[in-house]
Protein backbone atom coordinates (compact mmCIF):
# COMPACT_ATOMS: atom_id res chain seq x y z
CA UNK A 1 0.00 0.00 0.00
CA UNK A 2 2.23 2.81 -1.22
CA UNK A 3 0.72 6.22 -1.54
CA UNK A 4 2.72 9.06 -2.97
CA UNK A 5 1.30 12.42 -2.14
CA UNK A 6 2.27 15.48 -4.18
CA UNK A 7 1.50 17.65 -1.17
CA UNK A 8 3.92 15.92 1.19
CA UNK A 9 5.79 18.70 3.01
CA UNK A 10 9.54 18.70 2.50
CA UNK A 11 10.34 18.40 6.21
CA UNK A 12 8.21 15.26 6.51
CA UNK A 13 9.98 13.70 3.55
CA UNK A 14 13.40 14.57 5.00
CA UNK A 15 12.66 13.37 8.54
CA UNK A 16 11.04 10.15 7.26
CA UNK A 17 14.05 9.41 5.02
CA UNK A 18 16.52 10.04 7.83
CA UNK A 19 14.60 7.75 10.20
CA UNK A 20 14.25 4.95 7.62
CA UNK A 21 17.95 5.18 6.71
CA UNK A 22 19.00 5.23 10.37
CA UNK A 23 16.85 2.18 11.12
CA UNK A 24 18.22 0.32 8.11
CA UNK A 25 21.81 1.27 9.02
CA UNK A 26 21.41 0.00 12.59
CA UNK A 27 19.94 -3.28 11.37
CA UNK A 28 22.83 -3.62 8.90
CA UNK A 29 25.39 -2.97 11.66
CA UNK A 30 23.63 -5.65 13.69
CA UNK A 31 23.95 -8.21 10.91
CA UNK A 32 27.60 -7.26 10.29
CA UNK A 33 28.21 -7.88 13.99
CA UNK A 34 26.52 -11.26 13.72
CA UNK A 35 29.06 -12.27 11.08
CA UNK A 36 32.08 -10.53 12.58
CA UNK A 37 32.04 -11.52 16.25
CA UNK A 38 33.77 -14.70 17.24
CA UNK A 39 31.51 -16.86 19.40
CA UNK A 40 27.86 -17.74 19.76
CA UNK A 41 27.20 -15.76 22.95
CA UNK A 42 28.73 -12.59 21.54
CA UNK A 43 26.87 -13.04 18.28
CA UNK A 44 23.53 -12.98 20.08
CA UNK A 45 24.02 -9.30 20.94
CA UNK A 46 24.39 -7.29 17.72
CA UNK A 47 21.10 -8.36 16.05
CA UNK A 48 19.26 -6.75 18.98
CA UNK A 49 20.25 -3.41 17.44
CA UNK A 50 17.71 -4.16 14.74
CA UNK A 51 15.00 -5.22 17.15
CA UNK A 52 15.32 -2.15 19.38
CA UNK A 53 16.41 1.19 17.97
CA UNK A 54 16.42 -0.11 14.38
CA UNK A 55 12.78 -1.11 14.40
CA UNK A 56 11.98 1.96 16.51
CA UNK A 57 13.28 4.33 13.83
CA UNK A 58 11.40 2.55 11.03
CA UNK A 59 8.16 2.54 13.04
CA UNK A 60 8.53 6.24 13.88
CA UNK A 61 9.06 6.96 10.19
CA UNK A 62 5.97 4.94 9.30
CA UNK A 63 3.84 6.74 11.92
CA UNK A 64 4.98 10.17 10.75
CA UNK A 65 4.59 9.46 7.03
CA UNK A 66 1.16 7.86 7.18
CA UNK A 67 -0.17 10.35 9.74
CA UNK A 68 0.66 13.17 7.33
CA UNK A 69 -0.46 11.41 4.15
CA UNK A 70 -3.76 10.19 5.60
CA UNK A 71 -4.38 13.43 7.52
CA UNK A 72 -5.08 11.59 10.77
CA UNK A 73 -3.12 10.06 13.61
CA UNK A 74 -1.72 6.63 12.63
CA UNK A 75 -0.17 4.98 15.69
CA UNK A 76 -0.94 1.27 15.40
CA UNK A 77 2.79 0.68 14.75
CA UNK A 78 3.14 0.94 18.54
CA UNK A 79 1.72 -2.58 18.71
CA UNK A 80 4.63 -3.93 16.66
CA UNK A 81 7.09 -2.33 19.06
CA UNK A 82 5.29 -3.79 22.10
CA UNK A 83 5.06 -7.31 20.66
CA UNK A 84 8.69 -7.36 19.51
CA UNK A 85 9.88 -6.09 22.89
CA UNK A 86 7.98 -8.66 24.95
CA UNK A 87 8.73 -11.65 22.71
CA UNK A 88 12.47 -11.29 21.94
CA UNK A 89 13.61 -12.09 25.51
CA UNK A 90 11.91 -15.50 25.26
CA UNK A 91 13.70 -16.39 22.02
CA UNK A 92 17.07 -15.18 23.23
CA UNK A 93 16.77 -16.99 26.57
CA UNK A 94 15.96 -20.27 24.82
CA UNK A 95 18.77 -19.85 22.27
CA UNK A 96 21.40 -19.06 24.90
CA UNK A 97 20.21 -21.87 27.21
CA UNK A 98 20.40 -24.36 24.33
CA UNK A 99 23.92 -23.18 23.45
CA UNK A 100 24.98 -23.40 27.12
CA UNK A 101 23.79 -26.98 27.30
CA UNK A 102 25.64 -27.88 24.12
CA UNK A 103 28.90 -26.27 25.25
CA UNK A 104 28.59 -27.76 28.72
CA UNK A 105 27.96 -31.23 27.26
CA UNK A 106 31.16 -31.08 25.23
CA UNK A 107 33.11 -30.03 28.32
CA UNK A 108 33.81 -26.38 27.50
CA UNK A 109 35.34 -25.04 30.75
CA UNK A 110 34.45 -21.40 30.03
CA UNK A 111 30.66 -21.74 30.34
CA UNK A 112 28.65 -21.78 33.59
CA UNK A 113 26.40 -24.70 34.57
CA UNK A 114 23.33 -24.48 32.33
CA UNK A 115 19.90 -23.77 33.84
CA UNK A 116 18.11 -26.85 35.13
CA UNK A 117 21.23 -28.78 36.08
CA UNK A 118 22.43 -29.03 39.68
CA UNK A 119 25.40 -26.83 40.57
CA UNK A 120 27.60 -29.78 41.51
CA UNK A 121 26.73 -31.79 38.38
CA UNK A 122 29.85 -33.41 37.03
CA UNK A 123 31.32 -31.60 34.08
CA UNK A 124 31.68 -33.92 31.11
CA UNK A 125 35.16 -34.67 29.77
CA UNK A 126 36.17 -32.35 26.93
CA UNK A 127 35.96 -33.91 23.49
CA UNK A 128 39.21 -34.55 21.65
CA UNK A 129 40.27 -31.58 19.53
CA UNK A 130 39.26 -33.24 16.25
CA UNK A 131 35.65 -33.79 17.37
CA UNK A 132 35.03 -30.20 18.49
CA UNK A 133 32.06 -28.68 16.67
CA UNK A 134 32.88 -25.45 14.90
CA UNK A 135 30.72 -22.61 16.14
Amino acid sequence: MMEVSPTLPAWVAIVTSILVLLGAALTLIGTIGLVRLNNFYSRVHPPTLGTTLGIGCVLLASMLYFSVVKQRLVVHEVLIAIFVTITTPVTLMLLVSAALRRDWAIGDPSVPVPPGLPEEAERPEPLPESDQPTS
Binding site: L26, I29, G30, I32, G33, R36, L37, N38, N39, Y41, S42, V44, H45, P46, T48, L49, T51, T52, L53, G56, V74, V75, H76, V78, L79, T85, I86, T88, P89, L92, M93, V96, S97, L100, V111, P112, P114, P115
Partner: protein, 165 residues
Protein backbone atom coordinates in the same frame (compact mmCIF):
# COMPACT_ATOMS: atom_id res chain seq x y z
CA UNK B 1 -14.94 -3.62 43.53
CA UNK B 2 -18.08 -5.70 43.83
CA UNK B 3 -18.08 -9.48 43.53
CA UNK B 4 -19.89 -9.38 40.17
CA UNK B 5 -17.40 -6.95 38.63
CA UNK B 6 -14.58 -9.12 39.87
CA UNK B 7 -16.15 -12.19 38.29
CA UNK B 8 -16.72 -10.50 34.91
CA UNK B 9 -13.41 -8.60 34.91
CA UNK B 10 -10.82 -10.69 36.78
CA UNK B 11 -7.99 -8.74 35.14
CA UNK B 12 -9.35 -5.24 34.42
CA UNK B 13 -6.01 -3.92 33.17
CA UNK B 14 -5.62 -6.80 30.70
CA UNK B 15 -9.16 -6.26 29.43
CA UNK B 16 -8.50 -2.55 28.89
CA UNK B 17 -5.26 -3.37 27.02
CA UNK B 18 -7.11 -5.85 24.79
CA UNK B 19 -9.72 -3.20 24.00
CA UNK B 20 -7.00 -0.65 23.17
CA UNK B 21 -5.21 -3.24 21.03
CA UNK B 22 -8.40 -3.99 19.12
CA UNK B 23 -9.06 -0.30 18.48
CA UNK B 24 -5.47 0.27 17.36
CA UNK B 25 -5.52 -2.73 15.02
CA UNK B 26 -8.72 -1.53 13.41
CA UNK B 27 -7.70 2.13 13.60
CA UNK B 28 -11.22 3.06 14.51
CA UNK B 29 -13.21 4.51 17.38
CA UNK B 30 -16.64 3.66 15.91
CA UNK B 31 -19.30 2.33 18.33
CA UNK B 32 -19.25 -1.04 16.57
CA UNK B 33 -15.55 -1.56 17.20
CA UNK B 34 -15.87 -0.25 20.77
CA UNK B 35 -18.51 -2.91 21.49
CA UNK B 36 -16.60 -5.68 19.72
CA UNK B 37 -13.36 -4.67 21.46
CA UNK B 38 -15.07 -4.64 24.85
CA UNK B 39 -16.42 -8.14 24.25
CA UNK B 40 -12.92 -9.32 23.31
CA UNK B 41 -11.48 -7.60 26.37
CA UNK B 42 -13.92 -9.31 28.74
CA UNK B 43 -13.58 -12.69 27.00
CA UNK B 44 -9.75 -12.40 27.07
CA UNK B 45 -9.81 -11.60 30.77
CA UNK B 46 -12.06 -14.57 31.51
CA UNK B 47 -9.95 -16.92 29.41
CA UNK B 48 -6.81 -15.75 31.22
CA UNK B 49 -8.37 -16.28 34.67
CA UNK B 50 -8.25 -20.04 34.11
CA UNK B 51 -4.45 -19.73 33.83
CA UNK B 52 -4.34 -18.44 37.41
CA UNK B 53 -1.79 -15.74 36.81
CA UNK B 54 -0.45 -14.17 40.02
CA UNK B 55 -1.99 -10.80 40.56
CA UNK B 56 0.31 -7.83 40.54
CA UNK B 57 -0.19 -4.17 41.11
CA UNK B 58 1.68 -1.11 39.96
CA UNK B 59 2.15 0.87 43.15
CA UNK B 60 3.77 3.90 41.66
CA UNK B 61 2.70 4.90 38.16
CA UNK B 62 4.80 8.05 38.20
CA UNK B 63 7.95 6.00 38.81
CA UNK B 64 6.97 3.57 36.04
CA UNK B 65 6.90 6.44 33.54
CA UNK B 66 10.27 7.64 34.83
CA UNK B 67 11.60 4.09 34.48
CA UNK B 68 10.38 3.94 30.86
CA UNK B 69 12.37 7.08 30.00
CA UNK B 70 15.50 5.77 31.74
CA UNK B 71 15.22 2.55 29.70
CA UNK B 72 14.67 4.47 26.45
CA UNK B 73 17.81 6.51 27.14
CA UNK B 74 19.78 3.34 27.97
CA UNK B 75 18.58 1.60 24.79
CA UNK B 76 19.86 4.49 22.65
CA UNK B 77 23.13 4.63 24.59
CA UNK B 78 23.81 0.90 24.35
CA UNK B 79 22.85 0.84 20.66
CA UNK B 80 25.65 3.34 20.07
CA UNK B 81 28.05 1.36 22.28
CA UNK B 82 27.41 -1.94 20.48
CA UNK B 83 27.60 -0.27 17.04
CA UNK B 84 31.00 1.06 18.03
CA UNK B 85 32.22 -2.40 19.05
CA UNK B 86 31.01 -3.92 15.77
CA UNK B 87 32.39 -1.16 13.56
CA UNK B 88 35.81 -0.74 15.19
CA UNK B 89 38.14 -2.84 13.04
CA UNK B 90 40.19 -5.41 14.88
CA UNK B 91 38.42 -4.89 18.17
CA UNK B 92 37.60 -8.07 20.03
CA UNK B 93 35.06 -7.44 22.78
CA UNK B 94 35.85 -9.09 26.09
CA UNK B 95 32.51 -10.79 26.59
CA UNK B 96 31.54 -13.07 29.42
CA UNK B 97 28.96 -14.33 31.87
CA UNK B 98 28.00 -12.39 34.94
CA UNK B 99 26.02 -13.43 38.01
CA UNK B 100 24.01 -10.80 39.85
CA UNK B 101 22.21 -11.43 43.11
CA UNK B 102 18.70 -9.97 42.95
CA UNK B 103 16.38 -9.01 45.81
CA UNK B 104 13.18 -8.67 43.80
CA UNK B 105 10.85 -11.67 43.61
CA UNK B 106 7.76 -10.11 42.04
CA UNK B 107 7.05 -11.95 38.74
CA UNK B 108 6.06 -8.79 36.91
CA UNK B 109 9.12 -6.88 38.05
CA UNK B 110 11.33 -9.79 36.92
CA UNK B 111 9.53 -10.01 33.57
CA UNK B 112 10.02 -6.30 32.97
CA UNK B 113 13.68 -6.58 33.99
CA UNK B 114 14.09 -9.44 31.48
CA UNK B 115 12.62 -7.29 28.70
CA UNK B 116 14.81 -4.34 29.67
CA UNK B 117 18.03 -6.37 29.91
CA UNK B 118 17.36 -8.00 26.54
CA UNK B 119 16.22 -4.79 24.86
CA UNK B 120 19.42 -2.99 25.74
CA UNK B 121 21.92 -4.39 23.23
CA UNK B 122 25.03 -5.72 24.90
CA UNK B 123 23.28 -7.66 27.65
CA UNK B 124 21.27 -10.87 27.41
CA UNK B 125 19.27 -12.44 30.23
CA UNK B 126 20.25 -16.13 30.40
CA UNK B 127 18.58 -17.52 33.50
CA UNK B 128 17.12 -16.54 36.84
CA UNK B 129 17.53 -19.04 39.64
CA UNK B 130 14.57 -18.20 41.88
CA UNK B 131 15.74 -20.52 44.68
CA UNK B 132 19.04 -18.70 45.08
CA UNK B 133 17.89 -15.39 43.67
CA UNK B 134 20.74 -15.32 41.19
CA UNK B 135 20.48 -13.85 37.74
CA UNK B 136 22.82 -15.14 35.04
CA UNK B 137 23.59 -12.64 32.29
CA UNK B 138 25.81 -12.56 29.26
CA UNK B 139 27.50 -9.23 28.65
CA UNK B 140 29.19 -8.31 25.38
CA UNK B 141 31.56 -5.70 26.77
CA UNK B 142 32.49 -7.11 30.16
CA UNK B 143 35.41 -4.86 31.03
CA UNK B 144 34.24 -3.86 34.48
CA UNK B 145 31.94 -6.37 36.21
CA UNK B 146 31.06 -3.96 39.02
CA UNK B 147 29.79 -1.39 36.55
CA UNK B 148 27.27 -3.87 35.09
CA UNK B 149 26.22 -5.15 38.52
CA UNK B 150 25.70 -1.55 39.59
CA UNK B 151 23.57 -0.88 36.49
CA UNK B 152 21.25 -3.82 37.18
CA UNK B 153 21.09 -3.36 40.96
CA UNK B 154 20.96 0.37 41.40
CA UNK B 155 19.58 1.67 38.15
CA UNK B 156 16.86 -0.93 37.42
CA UNK B 157 16.20 -3.15 40.42
CA UNK B 158 15.84 -0.34 42.94
CA UNK B 159 13.20 1.40 40.82
CA UNK B 160 11.33 -1.84 39.99
CA UNK B 161 11.25 -2.67 43.67
CA UNK B 162 9.62 0.65 44.45
CA UNK B 163 7.15 0.27 41.58
CA UNK B 164 5.95 -3.26 42.34
CA UNK B 165 6.78 -4.22 45.90
Amino acid sequence: MSAITRRVLPYPLLSVFLLIMWLLLNQSLSPGHLILGSIIGVAGGLATSSLQIPSGRVRNLHLLVQFAFIVLYDIIRSNIAVSRIVLTPGRVAKSGFLTVKLDIRNEYALAILACVVTSTPGTVWVNFDSAKGELLLHVLDLVDEDEWTDLIKNRYERLLKEIFE
